[in-house]
Amino acid sequence: MKVAIIDYGMGNLRSVEKAFHKVGMGGAFITDDPAAVASADKAVLPGDGAFDSTMLSLRRSGVDDIVLEFIASGRPFLGICVGMQVLLTSSEEGDPDARGLDVVPGRVHRFPHQPGLKIPQIGWNTLNFVPDSPLGVDLPGQNSAEGGPMAYFLHSYYCAPDNPADIAATTEYGVPFCSALHRDNVWATQFHPEKSGPVGLAILRNFARL
């Protein structure tokens, strides 16, 4: 199986590739070639940095259209971190006119100012997957008394999909927020599964099995 990790000049791509290899997905590869993405079985859009500059990079490289075409084909697609946020309609971050890919209707918000709430959120926090979410099955620590599986977050903004049915997992940080989403063949995580130890590897394995 071929998993295309889309390279548009941003994001920590090698870690994502290595993590897929670690879970037995030797067919995961990094590419900036539209034809290679188009012929892959699954595609992954990583992302770091700001919403507006990420959208700018996607548009400049023409990757925005490649992503939209891939998603329209119905094959499984995974966005990671800012690669999740750009799937939404708009963001509070940066240029107010910057539009997202609008695959999942909704807006990206900044965490609220609250006493003691440090921004960015940096570190491991608990994932509460909706029941029977295919991405959240058989995670290490899921049934432990110590509070469930944790994943690594590194962000100041979070996704708020308009339709609650698009939420696949929630996490608390000052407010409850959408830490994973799912709409048809589109999946996305705000956390970094490639940096979330055994829990993250299990989530990537689950995606590979979709």
């Binding site: 870690s15 290595k18 440090k118 570190g123 290490p140 490639e194 940096k195 130890g197």
Partner: protein
């Protein structure tokens, strides 16, 4: 709930892990990648590599071990040491590091922090600050650079605030007075900084007992504790540190064995 992080720090020189006292008297503590895998298995939440390699020709060793760590260890890590330009920063992130820390170069060129934050996002820009109690600045704490050898005249609290304003995502705060003493973190310094800024603070320098780590979090208000000697020489494992904290009500991430 967000877990308090325990972060082993590996000082690396010429591709080997070393540890000294007050930045001096370095002792060998092993291979970086082996150490990284060991702490990952113990449940470390993140890793920090501080490269103190002096010779410029050996700088490529940094990229070699960072690359190997990224291939074998699936937790976040930060690399610091000798970063002077946006291009240096980009190169480190390209190896698979999630963050890079800047210390001396932030003082000589504060604009570097602004630029890196703009280019790569605040979340990966860690500013390392090494204050020492000299009594010569308004807060009493003065920023030192060059691995603790050079005083700058800068007030540590003013400097922390400027770094936050310029887009730092995190502060790694190493007390020069406490580092390597195993006598406990500098709690007044840690508390002053965590109260001042709205970004996460990693307390560093001085951990010798489990209670010291607990104090840095509760009294100091730190979001993370950097540990080195206490784990490098087998005094405690990361798992033991977390058990101790969990027993006292601190949220931590446990790994099942």
């Amino acid at each position: 709930m967000l877990a308090t992080r325990i972060i082993p720090c590996l000082d690396v020189q010429n591709g080997r892990v070393v540890k000294g006292t007050h930045f001096l008297n370095l002792r060998d503590a092993g291979d970086p990648v082996e150490r990284a895998a060991l702490y990952d298995a113990q449940g470390a939440d993140e890793l920090v590599f501080l490269d103190i390699t002096a010779s410029h020709e050996k700088r490529d060793l940094m990229f070699d071990y960072a690359r190997r760590v990224a291939e074998e260890v699936f937790i976040p890590f930060c690399v610091g040491g000798g970063i002077k330009t946006v291009e240096d920063f980009r190169r480190i992130l390209k190896t698979g590091a999630d963050k890079a820390s800047i210390n001396t170069a932030a003082v000589s060129n504060p604009e570097l922090i602004t630029e890196c934050s703009k280019n790569f996002g605040a979340q990966c820009v860690v500013v390392a600050i090494d204050p020492k109690k000299t009594g010569t600045t308004p807060s009493g704490w003065e920023v030192y650079i060059h691995g603790g050898r050079t005083p700058t005249g800068l007030d540590a609290l003013d400097w922390v605030r400027e770094m936050e304003d310029r887009g730092a995502g995190e502060i790694m705060l190493t007390s020069m007075d406490a580092d390597g003493t195993l006598a406990g973190y500098d709690i007044p310094l840690t508390h002053a900084v965590t109260q001042l800024v709205n970004i996460p603070v990693i307390a560093s320098g001085g951990a010798g007992t489990l209670a010291h780590i607990y104090e840095a979090i509760t009294e100091g208000g730190a979001q993370a504790a950097l540990v080195s000697s206490i784990v490098h020489y087998g005094t405690h494992t990361v798992g033991e540190i977390k058990d101790y904290l969990a027993d006292r009500g601190i949220p931590v991430r446990r790994v099942s064995i």
